[in-house]
Symmetry: C2
Subunit: 159 residues, 2 copies
């Protein structure tokens, strides 16, 4: 069981977009070049972030992607679930209702112990990722790298 690479790409890309000068849109090509990623494959996860209301997209020569809101309001969970979907990894098939020992639906109104504790673990995972915002991600980036990103953006704006 493994996340798509889009999760890593989008977490880094959103953190980078949070470092762009106010009002500047960053194209898919620039994001791809920045991290050495295959540009066509960025289309799908970027579209997912727009659909989730995390990014806005604009077209035209200076078009591209921007954060739709404040970076302190975007959590890592928002980004991961926008790319991977919100479906939990464990889906209960109610096997307790099947077979020679099958229970009647009437006694299975509540989730069984297996489904309950798999859900608890999933919620613990979600809570961990919900506790981190894009601001936290940017703050954890060494200053030298943030300075270089700022210089890169300035060069693109002036070039």
């Amino acid at each position: 069981m493994r996340f798509s690479q889009g999760v890593e790409w989008m977490l880094h890309s959103v953190a980078l977009l949070a470092q762009a000068p106010a009002g500047m849109a960053v194209s898919r090509r620039v994001l791809a070049e920045h991290y050495g990623l295959p540009e066509p494959y960025l289309a799908k996860p970027l579209k997912a972030l727009v659909r989730a209301g995390i990014l806005t997209a604009s077209s035209g020569p200076s078009g591209g992607f921007r954060l739709a809101g404040r970076p302190e309001d975007i959590t890592v969970l928002d980004i991961v679930e926008a790319v991977e979907g919100t479906s939990p990894p464990f889906i209960c098939q109610e096997i307790r209702q099947q077979g020679t020992a099958g229970l009647s639906p009437a006694v299975c109104q509540k989730p069984c112990a297996v489904a309950t504790m798999m859900d608890h673990a999933h919620q613990a995972w979600r809570a961990s990722l919900r506790g981190i915002t894009v601001v936290d991600l940017v703050k954890s980036t060494p200053k030298a790298i943030r300075d270089r990103n700022r210089a890169d953006f300035a060069a693109r704006l002036s070039g």
Copy 2:
């Protein structure tokens, strides 16, 4: 991203094996019939549990599967990772070292913020599942069902 069905099958099967009379081995066929599962598909996850030291397998007419140890020493995490593997869902590809903004390996000795917090979330998930044992699972099963399971096992032993 979704777990294989073997996760659900094995969590229920191990809980059932914990309810078998001492010394009784339960065949793959009986497990399949109990929960209405496709018997051939149980082979792989059952083998994984044997390989992980959670179950022992014996052959012959009264052969089958038994818990290898005490149910209070087997955690839900043990079972899930035996079936799904221990590889985390997020694998860092170090994209910060790629592209026009690529960092040198020298400054990337430590995992980046993205990899670190994805690992923290994974560890929160693991801790949640590590905190529940097979005894807890059995205790959460309604007494009426445990009684019926006991009667089923007794009937098979005497039959």
